[in-house]
Every structure is written in structure tokens, then in C-alpha cells.
Amino acid sequence: MKNIFLFLLALTLSNTTFAQQTFPVNGISNQNHIVYAFTNAEIFVDHEIILEKGVLLIKDGLIISAAEKTEIPKGAVVYDLKGKSIYPALIDAYTSYGMPELRTGNRGPYPQMESNTKGAYGWNQAIKGEVEANKIFSKDNRAAEEMRKMGFGAVLTFQKDGIVRGSAAVVALGEGRENELMISDKAAAMYSFDKGTSMQDYPSSLMGSIALLRQTYLDAEWYKKDKIKKEYNISLDAFNNLQPLSQIIETTDKLSVLRADKIGDEFKIKYIIKGSGNEYQRLDDLKETNCKFIIPLNFPTAYDVEDAYDAMNVSLTELKHWEMAPLNPFALEKYLIQFAITTADLKDKKDFWKNLRKAIFYGLSEKQALKSLTVTPAELLNVSDKIGRLKSGMMANFIITSGNLFDEKTMIYENWIQGIPYKINDYNSIDIRGDYDFSYDKKGSYKLKVEGDLDKLKGTVLIDSVKIPMNIAVSGNSVSISFNSTKEAYSPDGIIGTIRLSGNINSEPLKMNGKGQTADGDWIDWSATFKTGYLPEQKKDSSKKEALKYGQVIYPFCAYGKKLDDRDRFDKIIYDFKNRYQAVLIKHVTVWTNESEGVLKNQDVYITEGRIVRIADDINATKLAFAKIIDGTGKHLTAGIIDEHSHIAISNGVNEGAQASSAEVRIGDVVNSEDINIYRQLAGGVTTAQLLHGSANPIGGQSALIKLRWGKSPEEMKFAKADGFIKFALGENVKQSNFGDFNTIRFPQSRMGVEQVYYDSFIRAKEYDAKQKAFSLLSDKAKNNSVPFRRDLELEALTEILNKKRFITCHSYVQSEINMLMHVADSMGFKVNTFTHILEGYKVADKMKAHGAGASTFSDWWAYKMEVQDAIPYNAALLTQMGITTAINSDDAEMGRRLNQEAAKSVKYGGVTEEEALKMVTLNPAKLLHIDNRVGSIKVGKDADLVLWSDNPLSIYAKAEKTIIDGLIYFDKEEDIKLRDDIQKERARIIQRMIDDKKGGAPTQKPVPKKQKLYGCDSMELDYMQTE
């Protein structure tokens, strides 16, 4: 016991010194070192330790102790909290509390090439590492009060603007000086993929944001190592100072979590992810990142779906997300992912508790909820020694509640922050709910009933079995009642009107009495004597439990997604027996081999473990126990279609066109595995697609090559070990001819300039390459002593071209520019791998042949702009005749699913044989993409990427019936019909739930159609300005 006092003494001493301050006092100083003791409360020291009848001692804003048995020092103020609970105050790890309001600049119609930030800062306005929340924080009593009412005691706050957002601070939600409220001045470094208020053109796409962030890491590292420093850069310096802190990055989608983690892996950073609320849609992948999360409770509002036509505008994704979003916290808990919960992203902060309780109802444990609002955020923000628990020496940040914090009925009475109480509800107010004997004006035998919530009481007067509603209000020990005497007999003076009664409450025993006035103004006496207590209505828990029905997560989370076989909601089902591999045997089918064998009739094709294993006249099915047998009689089997030029499955922007070269950006960073067009193209027999950057600039971004593995994650969709490609572009788009009169600033604006962009870029790349090679040969010591080498992602991509590690697909139309690029390439020592579009290729076919370039063209497009006036549909045929590897591509989500038809047009235009025509969308693009050793023909050992057609694949009447990738059937005509049915049923089920909810009084929003953005080469910021 002595120890406590010793400790108290020590604490007192240390705190006295701590409590000294610099501010002068106006008036008399008010030093207060009183000990406050809170007794008889249920104390939640944290989510794990609960003291049933504990004592909490605090002094000087800090906790002395929280224990079951404690001697209360003399001279302490004691609060008896019998029947009440104490919790650590909650922590919100993601706010902009007390931050200055952001102002968006006016961009105007002209491009903004450079940063508008004045001073010795970095080149890009979206990199704001120099912003320090602790310096711009200014408390906001009104906002603080709102947060305190919800039970929060401290928040992380930062300026929510830019890709690098600077440092965040943890502040207390009290009303003292900022100097006292600061808990941690540098708690975390903040990032996002959103450039915020920056009006600078770069970056204009998600992939640009990613590239910019990556380059900033490299630049900062270089800046740090460079001791001579020719360039002084506040932004890079600030960026380096951010690195020791917790690193928090904001995402707006589950796929961006994977993107952030990939950057983290590259630069050895374990980001804390600010989630978006749809993490449950891809939890297996998210779990693998080992990231910790801060998640919002922004559950969507139901849609008004009573009108069947309007309801069509609500997608299955939206319907399912409405139903499943409240499961997100539960799912994260189930997957043992560490996460904090934030109030961020709520349209109305008042929904926080409602939504949190909903999440608990959907399975989130109360223990986890408390942890996610106290200990976890404290740990994530490195302030767990100060807040988050009720432990000795920590800040006295706690809340007093009427009971279980997560119960709907529970009230927060007080929120103590840094030892200072903030009253929210008065726990001394007497619970007067119950039944009373009631009399007034000496007339007895009436009854009174008081019910409702403590802060919103309701009452009824019962006179001769007539129920009269009344208003009742309690304030401290005063009560006031008013009701209408609806009958003359009920009124002492016989006048019908309002009777108003005021009086005093006596709590032990519960009794109320006082004076009142009739409608006529006569004064009367009244009294009410407590009879029986109030029994809160039992909410129909059983019906609630019943309502907890929800569908399965589907992969991807949109129409035609499929649930995983081994899952029941978030539980993994372990099967006793599982097929080791899937094998397929297709019998009696016409095989278009694309090999010297040509078209073989009545063949059996056996595929297993993802490969084509046998092609023969008759393969005995009985020996292949596990094989799925498909009758191919009358049907045709071809290699899967390969689209050399596609823009499907890309998230947030296909062009990063602010600069003439954007070689640093990578489509691979923004593959969108949830694009419905993947499925639609599978239905058209496409198995592989090259996803290209747009054509807004001469040197575009790096391509991604994917197999259309519908349902898999972006990384799983990528074609393994394929060569890297990059998009180049020539002509009208890169010189911005059709972008309107304001876009006449960025170089180049003519074909003359385009050539110079290439020469300049490659000369710089050569010098970069040489410098890099020279630097790598230096000894470690020499490296340290010399000017460090700055990795440049843009030039690195170009050196890969020079070193034949990356290959070019170049958007091109007219012969002059095609010729030009081949000259640039020859003089710089590289080859143009593929000219795409290449509509005037037929004019320079001999030159292309000599250079060794391939062609990937449209079947019959022309007349949409000046540079396609000489395009002819005979192009593909003529190029083929000239011995050039020629493919037909789509550049269009719609045409991508009919590439077999487009190939067949070269039979019409130019008389190509059917076999050669089919190769234009299978083997030839495989060759252009350097993957013809794996795909593009039906040959033993190659990947089993196959399409089973109802008819000759080049016929207009042919339909893909089965599309197979790696031996797995990704599209099946029969299954498709079943999926349509499933979609309809699932929609109907959820729509019914929404309608029920609406009838139950839930708010709804009007459905609006949401049409997907489809990208073509030209799609970019503002570029449609002049065409419509």
C-alpha cells in the first residue's frame, strides 16, 4: 500500500516540473493538483482487461492507477460510479480535425505544366512532404465537441491534400491551448494516389500517381546521399524526414491496396492502409500483404428500387455492396487482420455509432471494436504509451458510460480528456421512468406512465381509462409536465385546455410533487408516487437475427463473378478429396492448329495441368479418369484469340499525357481485374490481351500483358515471364491536333517535333545508360565518395529499349511518320517491334520488312480523322503478302469480342486464306508479343488456351461456346445461362431486402445509371472537348 503513495509522490514531483508553462497568466493562477477517484465502476483498462468494480485514480491529467482495490488518498474528489462503466477514450486515426480549409485553384483552359507552389520546392505540386500538421493545427471547439460526444478523446489529423501529404499529428480533443493538446507532433507520414488540389497536369492518371510516388522515393534517396547538393529541394528534404514515421496511405478501392503494397515492397515500407470499406471483396489477397488497416464505416444507403425500370440502373456490385459492406469489419477480424476504425468517409458523422453497431450486429466482436478504436490506433500511431489504455502514467483520456459502450441504450455521460471533464449527459439525473399513482387538485386515483429514452422521455396520463399523452421534461431534480384536459370533468375548473405542472423529484423513495396551473390560470397542487419500474421494450431480436442473411462474395465482385468453391461466406471449407488437376478431353472436333498440319478434322484433344498434352484421332477416355469430356462434333477448336491492342481492364485513366514522354508509367500498376469487359471478351473467345497506354504522347507508358483469368487478382492475371512492351505514338494525337485550341502549348505540336522528342529522349537514355554502367563498376567506397547516381524511371525504361529488354508497339497512321521512326530506331540501334493501327503500312511495307517491324492493324477503320483518309481495308492482306507478321487488333472494348469477324474481313478484302486470317488474331499477335512459344497455336506442350466454336470460327454465324485458359474453362455457354439466372435471383433477393428496409423507414437514394468508362487510344483528360 505504501507503494501507491510513493508512486503518487513520484508522479506528483515529475508532473509538477512537467506542468510548468511558458504562458503568462491573466489574473490569478489556478494550479490544481487534486486527485480524482472514480469508484465502483466497471473499468475497461483495455479491450482485454476488465475490472468489475474498480477504482480509477487520476491527477494532473494523467492516470495514477486503475485497479480493483486501491486506497483512495485523502483529499481526493470521489465520484461514485456504481452501475456505470469507464472506457479508454476512443481514438480516430484518420481525420483532418483543426486543419485549414483547402482551396482548389482555378485551372483555366490552358495546360499547367509546372507547379504553382512558389519557392524552393520540388517540381510537382502534388508532392507536399513539407506540410506539417503540427504547425497548421488550430483547435476547433465545435468539431471537437462533436467528436467528444461520440466518445473520442484524440485523433490523428493531417492536411488531406496531395499524393505526399506531409506529417500528421495526434491531438487531444480538449479545449485547451494547442500547446497542451498536442500528443504527438509527428505521428505519421501521409500518402495517397490523389493529387488533390494540384492543378498541375501531371499526373492525370492513377498510373501517373504511382509513378510519381515511386520516383519521389528514388529522388529523395539520391538527395539524401548527395553531399555536394547542387539542388536545394525543400520537398525532398521534408520527404526524407517523413520516413522514420508510421507510413499511412489512403486507398479508394481494394485493388489500390495491392497497388500500395507493391510500392511498399519496392521501397521496403510497410504501409498502414487507409481502406475504403470494400476490403472484404478480396480478402485473401489483402491478407497476404500483411498490411494493417484503418477502415471507415461508410456503409452505402439503400437504393429506391421500387420502380423496376429505375432499379435496372443499380448494378449487382452496388446491390451486393449495400448488403455486405457492414460485414467488412467482421471479415477483417475473421481474417486476423489488424485494423483501426475511423469516422472518415462518413457523409454524416452521426452515423458512426449506428454503423458501428450494425457492424457488430453483422458479427464484429465488441472486443475487437473496442480494440480498433483504442489500442490499435494508438499502436499504429506510436502513441500507445500515452493513450488507448487506462494504465498508470498514461493520459487521463476516458469516457464514463451508463453501461456497455456498444449497447444501443447506453449513454456516454462524460468524456474526460487530459484529466478535464466534458459533460455530455448528466448521470446524476434521476431515472424517473415507470408507473405512478397520480393526483392533482386533490383528485386522486389517476395514473401516470413515463417511458422512452432518458434524454427523450414520453408520458401518458390515464384518467378513467382514457389515455392522454403528455410532455414531460426533467432537469436535475426539477420536473415539468403538461397535458390537455380533453374532457371538462378532467379539469378542476371545468375548462378544457392545457394543464401545466412543475415540481420537485425526490429520488429515495421516488416521488414527484409541486404546483401547477390550469387552462384558466388557477393554481393547483399535484403529486405522483412511484409504483413500478420501467421495463424497456424488448426489441424483436429474433427478427433481427433472421434478417442477417447475406450472399456470398463473388470474384470479381460484379455481375458474372463467381463464388469460390471452397468458401462458405468467410469460412474456408476443407474438402476431404480434391481433384489434383483438371483435365479436359475434347472429342471429334475440327482443330485449326495454326501449325504446318493446318486444319485437322475429327480430332481428340487432351489437355491437363494447363497444357495441351495430346492431339490424336482417338484418345481413349476411359483411361483418363479425371477428365471432363466435351463432345466437339460439328464444332471447331482454335487457339485463344490474342488482342494485341486493348484498353480494357484499366483503372482510372489510360493516358498520362501531360508530358511528351511518360515512359515511367506502367499499365501493369493499374490492371483492373473487375472490368465486365473481361468476361464479355471471354465470351468472344479472347484469352490474352495486351493492355496499352493511350496515344496522347510520343512516348507513352509500359504495357501489361494479361490472360483473361476472370475472377483472379490483377497480379494473377498477368502473363508470366513475358517480355516488357511500351507504347509509342505518332501523329494527330501526340501533336494534340484534335484537343481544342487551348492545347497548343505542350511540345510537340507537329510531326517535326515528334522526331526531335525521340532523338532527344534516346540520346539522354544513352548517356544515362553509360553513366549507370560506369557507376555500377565503382567500388563501394568510390560510390560513397562520388556524386550518387539518380535512378530515373523514365530513362530506365528507355534504356531497356536500347538494351533490347523492352519492345515498342507504336501507334501510327501515315507513311511519313512510320518511315521517320524506323530511321530514328536504326540510328539509335534498336528496332520498332510493332507498328499498331499502321493504316498506311501498305505504303511502306517494303521499308517495314527491311526494318523487321510487325504490324497490328484494324480490319476496316478509316474516315474518322485526317490522318486516316488513305486507310484501306486491304492493308492487312497486303502487309501479309509482303511477308510482314500482321495482326488484327481491336483498340475497342466492343470490337474486342468479335475479333474473329474482324479477321474474317481480310478474306473479303484481299483474299487472305481462312487459315491465315485466323492467325491474324491468334498466332501472329503471339509472335508480335514474343509469346508464340507458349500460345497462339494448338500444339502439344503449349498452354491450353483454346476456344471451342459452334461453327467455322471465321464465319459470321460462329459463337464461342467454351473459352479455356491454362486448361480451365473461363467461359462456358451453358454456365453463362446459369449465371444470368443467378444474377437475376440475387438481384431480386437484395432488391426485396431494400424494399423491406424502405418500408421499415430506412433512407434511400435514387438510382442513377452508371455507365462504365471505355478507353480507346484517344481517351484522356478533356480530350472530347471539341468533338461532341
Binding site: A559, A863, D870
Partner: protein
Amino acid sequence: MKKIFFILSIFLSITANAQQKSILLMNGIAHLGTDSIIQNSIIGIKNGKIILVADARTAKIDKTAYDEIVDIPEKHLYPGIIAPNSTLGLSEMEAVRASNDFKEVGTLLPNVRSLIAYNTDSKIIPTIRSNGVLLAQITPRGGLISGTSSILMLDGWNWEDAAYKIDDGLHINWPRIQTRKFLDEDNIYPGPYEKNKEYTKQTNELKKLFSDAKAYNESELKEEKNLRFEAMKEVFNGRQTIYIHTDNVKEIIEAVNFAKQYGLKQVAIVGGKDSWMVTDLLKENNISVIVSRLHDLPEHPEDDTDLPFKLPYLLQKAGVLFCLNNEGSMEAMGTRNLPFMAGTAVAYGLTKEQALKAITLNTAKILGIDKTAGSIEVGKDANLFISTGDALDMRTNNVEKAYLKGVSIDLDNDQKKLYQKYKNKYGLK
């Protein structure tokens, strides 16, 4: 004005007739456009008209009565394909403003006429007719009422010469219940949909114009001539068709009721992506559908992936009169793919002959020219073409000969010339 055109068109057909040869097409596989095929046919043409349609195995023909005998065994004979709702000849290169003539300033422009802007010398047109498309309804775009269309032949010295049916109908773009913002929050086109606050205002504008025009044209005393009202004279007696462009189901319902309200007799929905949901309503009111571009993606992710492909089948099954068109991006040059859209519709439910009708006779009926065009029938204009194979399949669509009003037309085009030129350059065969 009208009178002059009337005289003109009579004059025009007389001059055309003067150049006619009589022709006998023998032994071709004739797809009549009426659901029927004659495997071994004999077709007679005289004075620009079809005077004989018969089975060569049974019919007895006096071959000497014809100037020219064309023997086409195993080749296919089709009625000329008709492209409704087209900007052919009004647009040469979409991105080049100077080459576009399909849109005027203003919202209510019934008096604006496509006919006189039609450029018979468009470089695109020869590439269209060489795939079998011989007639097109040249249609203005934009506004609430874009203007008045005309039907033209895809061969002619000038628009007067090429005119087939002048001022056939008025084109209304039904106001959108939901409109789309131009840019999204990231300044990327297109922006999100939102409720069109002007919807009621716009529909009222339309209705007011129709009420006013009706009254104006009924009144005997016209104080001052109003070009807009004058242009709508033929609308109310059914001599001009009202084409209402809309896709959305609610808008279609509103448009149908609008047509009912004004007692409009000839009405077609253009687009009609959602038309399969209201087939009864359309049938009841005798309204046909010029189906939105077939080679398109579904509107919603949960739609059947092949919904646009099978829309014709759904309408056919329900008994709604429909035809195909190619409005959309690159529409002028893409008109040559109209037969292949019909082919795709075969893969998704139509019979081949039904699909053919969807680009010939059905179109003629909807455009009000089926008395003279759309099928190979005695008494109709001899608008037809010969293909070496199935014209609905791109592998075999190979148009060897085509006739407009019995005159054989030029099937060469600049693209073929460039092909030849470069084949010669490289010494290729």
C-alpha cells in the same frame, strides 16, 4: 417549295428511265427479301422496274425481249440494302469540323433539311455501296428536333439526281430523363449521370411546338409564314414519319404516349435499346423500331452479354417491326458493315431471311418506301445486287454487280484503287 420538288422528282425519274436497258438475270440464288428464296431464279428488269420474278426451272421466258442477259449460276441475288438513320454524305471525317454537316444550331429545327447538304461525291459512299448498301436515309443530328431527313440513292450526279424520297420524316431526340455530366470529378470524359432537371421543360417545348404547328396547319388564315410550322405540315396527315430517337424504356413509353396524344400515324423509335421490354406497347400502337447499332456493348454489366446481338430476335419473336442501323462513332464509314450486323443477328436467333429483311424490306416499310424498294418483287424498282456468296458473311460478301433503278452502278472505290496501286508497286498479284 414543295411543288417544285414534286415536279423535280417526276422529271428525275423520267431522265433515269431514258437510259434504261432491259436486263434478264438468270440462274442466281435470289433472296427476295420477303422470307423466300428462289434457288434458281430468273429476274427481269425493264424501265428500271422489276417485271419478272420466277423460278428458272419452271418459267418459260422470251429471252429476246431483253437487251442484256446476265447468267449468274450459284451467285446470290439480294435486294439493295437500305441504311436508315445515316450521316453518309453529311460527314467526311468525324474529327475534322469542316467536313461535318449534320448538326445545326438550335433545338427545334423541323425546317432543317439533310437533302441539300448530301454530298454525292463523298469518298465514303463508294465504299459503302460496294458492300451492297444502295439506299440510305440521310439524317440530321442534334437538338430536340434535328430536322427532316430524306432517302437518297448511293449513286448520283448530285442530290437532286440521287433523291429517292424527299423529306420523308422528322427526327425528334426525346429528352433524356437522366443526363450525363460532361466530365467527372477527375476531369475525365464522360461524367456521371444525373437527373435531367430540364426534362419537363424540354418535353413541354416539344409538345408546344406540335400543338402550335397543328393549329397553324389547320388554320385557314396564316398571318405570317412560319418555316418551322410549314415544315411539319405533312406530319399530322401521316405522309411524313416521326422518328423518335431514344433508348431508355421510360423515355420510350413517354414517346409513345406523345405520339398517341398528337394522333401521329407514322412513328418509329430509333435506338430502342430497351424496346424489348415494351414490345406489347409498341405493337399496340403500331410503332416500329430502328434498332440501335447491333455491334455494341450491353448497357449494364448484368445484362446478357449478347443482349445487343439478340435484340432483333427478341423483337422478331414479339412481332414488332424493326430494322437495323449503324448510328454511333465512325458511323458513316461503318455503314458498309450493315450486312454483317444482320449476319450477327442470325447467330443470335434470326433466320437468315429474317435478318436480310431487317436491312431491306423492313427498313423500306419503316421508311415508307416499300412500294418501290426493299425486296425483289414485280413492280418494284430494280434496286438489287449480286454477290458471289452469302452477303451477310464477310468471308463471302463479294458484290460483283449492283443496280439502282435498273442501272448498273460503279462498284470501284478509292480504296480499291490504292490497293491496286501498291500491289503494282510491289509487283504483287
